[in-house]
Symmetry: C2
Subunit: 202 residues, 2 copies
């Protein structure tokens, strides 16, 4: 029963715009700095304050299409005129060295990850209520009413994809939500299917 | 998405003699006094220091057999001349009121629980190594060599049943093991299948 190093876990977080996902992720990463937060590739131009390798890896359309051709993405999508994608190579390296990898992607991307990596842990973050989500979106003062209504509509559509997720975390209080995600990671690491692989000499 | 009260979880703990299961359970219950630790029924006589309703519910053979006839047990078994069993009625009441219920039972009993309650969470506690288990059994100074060898042999047999368990917890340090069990309970409570039942008004 000597223990070998356990493979890292692939964790996918999704949730509607305004649910406070980035705050929960920041809290999670401050408690668990050993987790690698996957940075996506994009062809869109960096906004003010965004840095290459931090917010995104900013690449040209040509580079991105070459990466698609070489099947280098775990998942990728095109929105308006820009590509967004998650590099499989980087993630695979991290997982193999035993590092947990966190992806922040939307529901279609999560479904693709599930196909390619059945062992991925899919977590959906929900607000305590739609009223609260609406309150949070209005409270940001960044979007006009039409954009907010669009986001609420999208949240209702994404809701139908929830059965594809393993876990639902309610973001009422950020530390509780982050704590539940940490508990999920600990529990997943205790799964018999992983731990028995590590046991020898019985 | 108003939350209704979540149903309690049925948690089954098994593990070889000498693994330190009762110490882990004591630690767990001191951290989570809200968990109901299920007391078994038995027809064996109480030993010195054992109290009815604490260590076991001590009942007559006649009473036990009437309970079997009324299908009142979640699982029961006969060892040598005595019956041991877990009352389904008590557990069901606790689960319905939203209380988590912990059972400490051996592998055959756990398999029966799995059949009757597919949602039960099955956790197997293992020692860091068989050498360590042997050391712990010798360190107790309560059993002679033959008994210890029998327990080690039984541990190796129980090992084959591990794939029936959802989680494997290594009892190296008691607080770590108890912490992992608490994380498992938190994570299981976040499962989409339970939480979506609680969501309304979408």
């Amino acid at each position: 029963m000597t223990q070998k190093k356990q493979r890292g876990q692939l964790i996918v977080l999704s949730g509607p715009s305004g649910v406070g996902k980035s705050t929960v992720i920041a809290e999670l990463l401050s408690e668990r700095p050993d987790i690698y937060f996957s940075v996506s590739f994009t062809t869109r131009k960096p906004r003010v304050g965004e840095a290459d390798g931090v917010n995104y890896y900013f690449v040209s359309k040509e580079t991105f299409e070459e990466m698609i051709a070489r099947d280098e993405f775990l998942e990728h999508a095109r929105y308006v005129d820009n590509y967004y994608g998650t590099s499989l190579k980087l993630i695979r390296e991290k997982l193999e060295e035993g590092t947990d990898v966190l992806l922040d992607i939307e529901v279609q991307g999560a479904a693709k990850v599930r196909e390619k990596c059945p062992d991925a842990v899919l977590i959906f973050i929900v607000p305590p209520s739609f009223e609260e989500l609406s309150r949070r979106l209005h409270g940001r003062h960044t979007d006009d009413e039409e954009v907010i209504q669009g986001r609420l509509q999208k949240a209702r559509e994404e809701w139908k994809e929830i059965p594809n997720y393993d876990y639902l975390v309610v973001n009422d209080k950020v530390p509780t939500a982050a704590g539940e995600i940490m508990a999920i990671l600990t529990a997943e690491g205790c799964r018999t299917k992983y731990r028995t692989e590590l046991m020898e000499g019985v």
